[in-house]
Amino acid sequence: MIKEVTDAQEAEARIGRLRLLEALLFASAEPLDEETLAGRVGPEVGLLLEELRAHYAPRGVNLVRTGGGWAFRTAVDLAPELRREEEVSRKLSRAAIETLAIIAYHQPVTRGEIESIRGVATSKGTLDLLMEHGWIRPGKRRETPGRPLTWITTDHFLDHFGLESLRDLPSVDDLRAAGLLDSRPVLLGLGTAGDDGGLAATGEDGDEES
């Protein structure tokens, strides 16, 4: 993995790039994508990142990959000693937790589909709360009648839950194999009082002036 270095000068330049990469990643609280990093340390950024990752793997701070970006994070196994109580106490409602899971596993998913999966209408304060946490955002409109808005998860969602990509969602392959990631509405049209079709059709684009 580590490129053969023959020349002492080149070795020094390489160490310089490694140090710069380390400093860039350390300075930022948010993940940085490879493109941005390549702009600063050159095209061999992939190799340098792997080298850094390996160096930090056994340490108290690790280099992790999340949603296409890289960031330093404290090691997972130190969690019990670093847990911040005040964060833990901010508990989310069951509705919010389930809704987030449905968006994560079924995305892009419309509100109507979320409601049909949960069997109840989505209360106000659920989607906006998840969005305020930076976990979800509106995706493209679905090209079906009424053009309902879809919801998707963000890169910050991956970062927050320590996931490299959506493929790493717990049990995602099992659920897909079992056919449970099908968001089609089933015979029972439950909880879809405000189904997307009707809603999106009214007041489209919200450009009406009252």
């Binding site: 930022s28 609280a29 670093l82 964060e87 987030l100 949960r118 305020e132 717990p170 029972l188």
Partner: protein, 271 residues
């Protein structure tokens, strides 16, 4: 059902001061809608959800709704729709399958089982997701980031959430500026039409008008206005050809049934 009730109201059941309706309310509070309740009932069967007895489940659910109605508990329409659907499903499962293009009882049972499994799966992964080490709770970013501003294309920090919230608040202010006259607490016919339409869509069989009324402690004027509004609404819907009505005689219970598209008009002797 009894098991579930006992389990969920263990704290209050012993307290004679808690009325049955309060107990039921407590049970209801524990659920995120009828599907969630069915799932809890299903788990009580202590078998794999794929081998669950849908008939047994329907019986347990209907027993719960009957109990709730006995203590005149206001059940959300969702719960009544589910009860109606399960009663229908039960009849389809017990009676010989009629000829026709409607989905068979088996199909309906399978669809319900699928919904329960899917919801169960989502609850499972939600728990797994939140059991993961979380950023800012278990795992931490650099506490003192040095603002290098590598990626920011704009010096202003505004997110889509900020933008949407600003617009929402602006609209809300504007809407709040309109004077709203407090409506009298009466049931309107429009509302009854809406409610009946929602309920009937899922109710392919005859049911008494009384069973559609919102129960509850509103009492007096509100209850009477609900009856009047629903009665007027059935007439309106019948006129529009969306429901059929049946009454055995004067002052006998009035039966309502949703009219499916393509149905032949009801037998005149029924009306």
């Amino acid at each position: 059902m009894a098991e579930l009730l006992a389990e969920l109201t263990a704290d209050t059941a012993a307290d004679p001061a808690v009325s049955p309706s309060e107990q039921l309310l407590l049970v209801l509070d524990g659920f995120e809608g009828p599907l969630d309740m069915l799932l809890a009932l299903g788990r009580d069967q202590k078998v794999d959800l794929t081998r669950i007895s849908i008939l047994e489940l329907a019986d347990q659910y209907l027993a719960f709704v009957a109990e709730a109605r006995k203590v005149r508990l206001e059940l959300a329409a969702d719960y009544l729709v589910m009860a109606a659907w399960l009663a229908y499903l039960k009849s389809r499962l017990l009676l010989p399958e009629p000829e026709g293009e409607e989905p068979s009882g088996e199909d309906m049972a399978a669809a319900l089982a699928f919904q329960l499994q899917r919801l169960e799966a989502m609850k499972g992964v939600a728990a797994k997701l939140f059991a993961r080490p979380r950023l800012g709770v278990d795992v931490h970013p650099r506490g003192a980031p040095e603002d290098l501003d590598l990626r920011r294309k704009s010096v202003y920090e505004v997110t889509l959430f900020d933008l949407l919230r600003a617009y929402g608040q602006q609209r809300a202010r504007k809407e709040a500026g309109v004077l709203h006259i407090a409506p009298v607490r009466l049931y309107s016919m429009e509302e009854a039409v809406q409610r009946l339409t929602a309920l009937l869509g899922h109710m392919p069989d005859w049911a008494t008008l009384a069973s559609f009324l919102p129960g509850g402690e509103g009492g007096g004027l509100l209850t009477r206005s609900a009856l009047a509004a629903h009665f007027a609404a059935t007439l309106e819907l019948a006129k529009a050809g969306r429901v059929e009505l049946r009454q055995e005689g004067a002052f006998a219970p009035l039966y309502v049934r949703g009219r499916q598209a393509g149905d032949t008009p009801a037998d005149p002797s029924d009306s």
